[in-house]
Subunit: 332 residues, 2 copies
């Protein structure tokens, strides 16, 4: 097996204090690898980076159109949002449109990652709801498809029609059988694939507009929804949102737990997958920024890019103590 | 350079989702390596794992005795406490004894990591103080030495007599010249050494009771203070505290930022240093627990040990989704 490659360096003063290794693959629309770092055959759980794959059946089945879902709702179906009012209010309205409440969501409750709302809720002695979970938009999508299919309420069961449809879509676009799944933070199955499989899926999304089948049409709509509403895919201050806004062309970017990040580049017909082998978000954010600078999708001098490509590390007193840097091999 | 070795595995369902590599060295009192994983010559910043080295001049100079410091205060001088009332109240009293206030501390303010106090302060609209900083005990020690030496207030300046004394102690016990320093989270210089140097220093502490010089006497007192007051070294629920309490014999354990962990084992005359190359705390906690199980200092079946050696990973809904495990090479 090919060893993981250097991705990201953590500097403090004159010392590289820590270093992250991992895998990265850039694929074209034919499914061929354009460039790779580390092991393209590494088996990975893409976690929330696969949300747009999990949203494919919602759109391709006709459920989204039957319910009149907006592009905002499609973006939320692909989101790891931070539970800010702009996210929570929209998902609550979506649930209400379905005639459902917070208890219909199978994801657990999560404390809002929006600082103001979190503090407001603590002061009001309010407990977090399931709708605050970063995956609640995805789950609202699952519920929409569940109703469309007339299926039962436990839509996170791997044998539920919604999850069977997700697996079918996942294997179609990764173009390989999934070797299994883990249970995700939100209780839905998260299907495994290889780094090559995930990058191939992202390139399949990037080239979806060139094809006319229902699944490709769904992929093109989801990609467009994501880059049309970057603030709904993550939220103010977060990497997906800031980097999508900073991009020189329409792209869809999505983080995943345990150091995953993907990019869908429709204007180039390319897909990118990054996995920090140790699961570090700071490494994946820096590495995806570096690869997008390399591809000239991002400008290395843009402040929203520098915030992830070369962020300064500050201590409790606000002093600059170090810096995060991409490994030289990613940029060159 | 020797590559980092496997330390810790992160499993989700049937997949090893992430993996941590790093360095670990066990040293004896003669400074010889007993066992090593990864690169003993790797240059590292031991961060808060070096706090007992930074407290050596406080005791060896006579400042601690001149001020009548208790073993609780010596434990706090070596602590990364979580800013619970038991820590904050003691440091506030210490500052008061010195005739000083919160503003004399050169560490920045840090939100308390004690959940109840954090929530109480949010509800009371109170901002965190410097005394809540996990390093405030170390800084109270620096201030005590500063007064003893009649030195100026900026005791974190690398040229201040306190920091010059710290560097001298650091180089004495690591038995090598430090190649430099980085600025730590609390604004004090953090001196660099090698993994071998740090493990050697820990073995020097472990055997300090066998020697009669002032620095060794100081080391023995600091080690005893740490294992006498494990709740002051970190706090309820935290790795240092739980593992010191669970140990079959008196040991001093100390975490450090960016994946550092050390152990001082006086009954065996051994010192241990661990560094997760990627900086992950979860990896260092699991690896130090594994090495202490290997050495029969910890019982692998003890619940406080299992909480770091083999912790279950649960999702937002409380479901078990995976597990953290030590790499087989650490235990065997």
């Amino acid at each position: 097996m090919t060893q993981p490659a250097a991705l990201t360096e953590i500097w403090r003063g004159p010392f590289m204090e820590s270093a992250h290794v991992g895998h990265a693959v850039i694929c074209d629309g034919s499914g061929q690898i354009v460039t790779a770092w580390g092991d393209p055959d590494a088996v990975v759980l893409p976690r929330s980076s696969s949300k747009m794959l999990q949203a494919l059946p919602l759109v391709a089945s006709g459920a989204a159109d039957a319910r009149g879902l907006t592009t905002e709702q499609l973006a939320l179906a692909c989101a790891s949002h931070q539970g800010a009012p702009e996210h929570v209010d929209r998902v609550n309205r979506w649930l209400s449109d379905l005639g459902l409440g917070d208890d219909a969501l199978c994801c657990g409750p999560q404390v809002s990652r929006d600082t103001d709302l979190k503090i407001e809720m603590i002061r009001a002695h309010e407990s977090p709801c399931r709708v605050h979970n970063n995956c609640s938009g995805k789950h609202a999508g699952f519920l929409t498809l569940t109703q469309h299919l007339g299926a039962g309420p436990n839509y996170v069961d791997p044998d539920h029609p919604v999850q069977r449809a997700c697996l079918d879509a996942f294997e179609t676009v990764t173009d390989q059988a999934s070797p299994g799944f883990g249970i995700d933070g939100c209780s839905a199955p998260n299907f495994a694939t290889t780094m090559h499989g995930m990058a191939r899926a992202m390139a399949w999304f990037a080239t979806a507009g060139q094809r006319s089948d229902a699944m490709s049409a769904a992929a093109a709509r989801l990609t467009e929804a994501m880059h049309t509403h970057p603030q709904l895919v993550a939220g103010e201050g977060r990497a997906c949102t800031r980097l999508m806004r900073a991009a020189k062309e329409p792209v869809a970017l999505k983080t995943g737990a345990e150091g995953f990040f993907i990019a869908i580049l429709p204007e180039r017909g390319l897909g990118v997958a990054v996995k920090a082998a140790d699961g570090a978000t700071r490494a994946a954010e820096c590495a995806i920024a570096a690869l997008l600078v390399r591809l000239d999708v991002l400008d290395a001098e843009h402040p929203d890019v520098m915030a992830f490509l070369n962020p300064v590390i500050r201590n409790w007193d606000g002093l600059e103590t170090g810096q995060i840097k991409p490994a030289p091999g990613l940029l060159a």
